[in-house]
């Protein structure tokens, strides 16, 4: 395997770990629907982290099970004037507290890693 392919493979692996923290961070800035959430994450990360298609749904469910976010089914009107249901997600109080702890922990972690890699 050439280095470019290997690099891509490794990047995919470590990027996965950042998806859930980024979802939490995005939701801490306001409620959102699944697709706009993936779009926001892509924008925030300058396209480095993009959650493909429906892959965000299991992540949102996991976060919901951990009670860090909550969902609500709301009625929206489509461009054709039809009323449809759509799930909107928001961060819970527990999620906000957890995010603060997570940020500190991630900062500490990246500092340690940087010290090892760039002594």
């Amino acid at each position: 395997m050439n280095h470019q392919d290997l690099l891509h493979k490794w990047q995919t692996e470590f990027k996965k770990g950042f998806s859930k923290p980024l979802i939490l961070q995005s939701l801490s800035e306001g409620k959102n629907y699944p697709y706009p959430l993936t779009k926001k994450i892509k924008e925030l990360s300058n396209g480095m982290i993009s959650i493909a298609g429906s892959n965000i749904y299991p992540m949102l469910t996991n976060l919901e099970k951990e009670e860090l976010i909550a969902s609500q089914s709301v009625e929206i009107t489509t461009k054709e004037g039809k009323t449809k249901k759509r799930n909107i997600y928001e961060i819970t109080e527990e999620g906000k507290e957890f995010l603060e702890h997570l940020k500190l922990s991630m900062q500490e972690f990246t500092e340690v890693i940087q010290k090892i890699i760039y002594p």
């Binding site: 629907y33 779009k39 493909a52 298609g53 429906s54 749904y57 469910t61 089914s73 759509r86």
Partner: protein
Amino acid sequence: MKNAKILNPIKFYIKKINKLLPYPKSVKKSILESLEQDIVEAMEDTNNPDPTEVFGDPYTVAKNLSHSKGLGISPVGFGIRTVAYFIDFFLSLIVCIILIILTVFLIGPHVVYETNPIVFIAEFLLLILGLISGIFVFFGYPILLEGLFSTTIGKKLFGLIVIDVSGIRISWKQAIIRNLPKTQAEFLFFDVLIGKYIQKTTNQRALDQVAETLVVRVKS
């Protein structure tokens, strides 16, 4: 005009996903409506008319939806499935017997007293066909119903369906594999015992494990 162009492939795409999810309409409706809005926005953003390219293949989307919404996560025990099995067994046995009796009584006498060899052969073949279709109903009943509707009449009475372990509709191949032991009650008994021995938590018969299928109760 732009919207009309975008909406048709989306409807087609949603239809494919809908077909892959063997759950009641009441359960799927809001999930698919929500999904549709995400797809519409994603396609408008990327200006790509192919939902599969924008959102992924329908199989992956259906699996992700089923998994994330917990549509088929609780496999049911063997007790209720045994009752459903006996209901199906007697239903298919009744249809099988009716078919065989009808064939024998309607065609049988003609065959016995027929003197014209061509008519005799035709009636004899018809008799055999009738008997085979009776037997086919008996053995093919669960395969046919599970392949088409992911459930049988017996299972439906208890709100049970058969799904792929990933949460989507089973294929014909899976329906055939998992129903093979039903041709002999002894096979079915050992199938359950071996399945229970290998995997204790998922209530899968051995051939359910081979076919990668689960019997679950659907949310109402």
